[in-house]
C-alpha cells in the first residue's frame, strides 16, 4: 500500500541533517500549523457551500449559483464581507471574556485535529490515547460556548449557552460509550492501531449488529454535540435569535461559524476512523485479489470520501428533521440512548471476549 511515510521521513531527515533538534521541531511545527490552518480555511469554505447546496436541493431550490461556477465562490465572498465588517463589542458585555470566547472555541476545534490520521502515514500526533484525547478535547468546546453566552450579557445568549451546556454534557455519555465499543473490540486507544485492526474489514461489518447500533448512536450523539438540527436548541433561530452568538458580528461571528463546521468535520472523521476504517481501503476478509485492487485508490481519498459521506448524512438529518424540545432532547438521551448504549457495550464486550467478531 502506498504510504506517505516516505515523504514525512525524508523531510525529517533533511531537516535534522542540517539543523539542531530545537530548530527541526520549530520548522516542523510551522509546517503543521500552516497545513492545519490551510485545511481549516478550505474546509470551512467548502463545507458551508456544500451545506447550502445540499439544503437547497432537499428543499427543491437551486442554492447559490451566481458567484463562480455553481456558486462555489459564494462562501469566499461571504467571508470577505465578514472580514470587512465591524466586530462590535456591546457596552454591557464582559469585554475580555467576550473577545476571548471565539478563540477558545476555535483553538479547541484545532486541538482535536491532532490525532486524526488523514492518510496512510500522515498524522500529526499518533498518541497512545488518541480516542480519549479527542473525546476529552471536544468536551472543552462547551466552555467556549458558555463563556460566549455569559459574557454577552444577553438573555438569549445565556439561554442558548445553558441549553448547549446541558446538551453537550448529556450526549457526551452516549458518544463516549459508543466509542468505547470500538476500543473494546480493538483493545487500543491509539488511532493507528484502530485503523490497522480494520485491515480485513471495517468494524461496521466485522462487529455484527451491536456495532451498527453503536454507529447509529454515535451519529446521533455527534449531531447533538455539534449543536446541529434537530438538536440546534442552542441557537434556535425562531426562539433565541441566534443563541450564544447573538451579540457577535464580523470575524468573531465567523470564528464561531468556522469552528462549528470544523467540529462537524472532526466528529465525522472520528466516526469514519472508528467504524469505517479511516484511511483503510474497503477490504473483505482474505480476498487478496479484491483487496489489492482496492489498495490502488489512495488512502487519503478513502478517508475524505468516508468523512464526507458522514458529513452528508448529518446534513441530511439537518434538512429533514424538526427541532426537538429541551425535555424531548433529554428524554432521548437519558431514557433511550444511554440505556441502549450501556447494554450494547455489554454485548460488544461479550463478543470481544468470546472472539465472535470476524
Amino acid at each position: 500500500m502506498y504510504s506517505l511515510h516516505a515523504i514525512t521521513h525524508s523531510i525529517q531527515d533533511w531537516l535534522s541533517a542540517r539543523l539542531s533538534p530545537v530548530w527541526v521541531l520549530m520548522i516542523e511545527s510551522i509546517i503543521v500549523i500552516v497545513l492545519a490552518i490551510g485545511l481549516f480555511a478550505v474546509l470551512g469554505l467548502i463545507l458551508v457551500w456544500l451545506e447550502r447546496k445540499v439544503a437547497a436541493h432537499m428543499q427543491i431550490r437551486l442554492g447559490p449559483n451566481r458567484v463562480g461556477p455553481a456558486g462555489i465562490f459564494q462562501t469566499s465572498a461571504d467571508t470577505l464581507k465578514l472580514i470587512l465588517k465591524e466586530g462590535l463589542t456591546p457596552d454591557g458585555a464582559d469585554k475580555f471574556l467576550f473577545n476571548f470566547a471565539p478563540f477558545v472555541v476555535m483553538i479547541v476545534a484545532m486541538l482535536a485535529l491532532a490525532p486524526i490520521a488523514f492518510a496512510n502515514g500522515f498524522q500529526i500526533w499518533d498518541i497512545n490515547i488518541g480516542v480519549l484525547y479527542v473525546s476529552a478535547i471536544s468536551s472543552l468546546s462547551v466552555i467556549g460556548i458558555l463563556i460566549a453566552g455569559w459574557a454577552s450579557n444577553n438573555k438569549y445568549s445565556l439561554l442558548g449557552a445553558m441549553r448547549s451546556g446541558a446538551q453537550i454534557v448529556s450526549y457526551e455519555l452516549s458518544a463516549g460509550l459508543s466509542i468505547l465499543t470500538i476500543v473494546v473490540l480493538t483493545g487500543s486507544l491509539q488511532i493507528s492501531d484502530i485503523v490497522h485492526a480494520q485491515q480485513n474489514g471495517w468494524w461496521l461489518f466485522k462487529g455484527h449488529i451491536p456495532v451498527v447500533i453503536a454507529f447509529i448512536i454515535f451519529i446521533i450523539a455527534a449531531t447533538a454535540e455539534t449543536n446541529r438540527a434537530p438538536f440546534d436548541l442552542a441557537e434556535a433561530e425562531s426562539e433565541l435569535t441566534a443563541g450564544f452568538h447573538t451579540e457577535y458580528s464580523g470575524m468573531k461571528f465567523a470564528l464561531f461559524f468556522l469552528a462549528e463546521y470544523i467540529n462537524i468535520f472532526i466528529v465525522c472523521a472520528i466516526g469514519a476512523t472508528l467504524f469505517l476504517g479511516g484511511w483503510m481501503p474497503f477490504h473483505i476478509g482474505d480476498w487478496a485479489q479484491f483487496n489489492h485492487v482496492m489498495d490502488y485508490i489512495p488512502s487519503s481519498i478513502w478517508f475524505f470520501g468516508k468523512t464526507f459521506f458522514l458529513i452528508f448524512l448529518i446534513m441530511w438529518f439537518r434538512w429533514t428533521f424538526p427541532r426537538l424540545r429541551v425535555d424531548q432532547l433529554l428524554t432521548l438521551e437519558w431514557k433511550y440512548l444511554l440505556p441502549i448504549s450501556l447494554f450494547n457495550l455489554l454485548l460488544v464486550t461479550v463478543i470481544a471476549i468470546m472472539n465472535w467478531h470476524f
Binding site: 436541493h57 427543491i60 431550490r61 441530511w316
Partner: protein, 158 residues
C-alpha cells in the same frame, strides 16, 4: 409489557424518521424537481400563473373598442381610491343624452391588487394583468389612463 412498548416506540420513531429522510433524499437525487425560477435570466420564457394579479388593465379589441359603460362600480368597490372614473354625456343617434366613459384614471402606486374592482365590474371591462415589472424613476408615471385615446364603448354593451 414495558420492554415491548419501549422497543415498539423506537421502531416507530425510526420508521417515521426514515420516511422523512426518504422524501428529502428523493428530492436531492432528482435535480429536475427544482422549482426555482431564475428570474432575470428567464424573462423571455417566464409564464405567470393565470390567477396572478399584476395590475389592472382594460382590454381593447382590434377596433379600439372597450366594454366600460362608466358606471363607476369599480370606483365604489375600490377600498383605497385607486380608481377614478370620469364620465361625460354623449348624444345617441336618437338625440338622447347617454352617460359614457371619458377617462379611466388608475393610480397603480395606491393599488393593493386586491381585485375587488374586477369582481364589481358588471360588463367585464377591466381585468387583472400579468405584468409585474412596475418600478419607475418618476412616481407620477404610475398614474395611468386605462382607456386608449379615441376608444369607444363596444356596441351592445349596456
Amino acid at each position: 409489557m414495558f420492554i415491548k412498548e419501549y422497543i415498539s416506540e423506537i421502531a416507530k420513531a425510526t420508521k417515521s424518521l426514515w420516511t422523512g429522510m426518504r422524501l428529502t433524499g428523493h428530492y436531492f437525487v432528482r435535480p429536475k424537481t427544482v422549482i426555482t425560477q431564475q428570474y432575470p435570466d428567464n424573462r423571455d420564457t417566464l409564464k405567470m400563473a393565470d390567477r396572478f394579479r399584476g395590475e389592472v388593465i382594460m382590454p381593447h379589441d382590434a377596433d379600439n373598442l372597450h366594454a366600460c359603460t362608466g358606471c363607476t362600480a369599480c370606483e365604489l368597490a375600490c377600498p383605497n381610491a385607486t380608481i377614478k372614473v370620469i364620465t361625460k354625456f354623449e348624444l345617441t343617434p336618437e338625440n338622447k343624452k347617454k352617460k359614457a366613459l371619458d377617462t379611466f384614471v388608475y393610480h397603480l402606486d395606491m393599488c393593493t391588487l386586491c381585485g375587488l374592482c374586477v369582481d364589481a365590474c358588471p360588463t367585464g371591462a377591466i381585468q387583472m394583468g400579468q405584468n409585474f415589472e412596475h418600478s419607475v424613476y418618476d412616481r407620477s408615471t404610475l398614474t395611468k389612463k386605462l382607456n386608449k385615446p379615441g376608444s369607444k364603448i363596444r356596441e351592445g354593451v349596456e
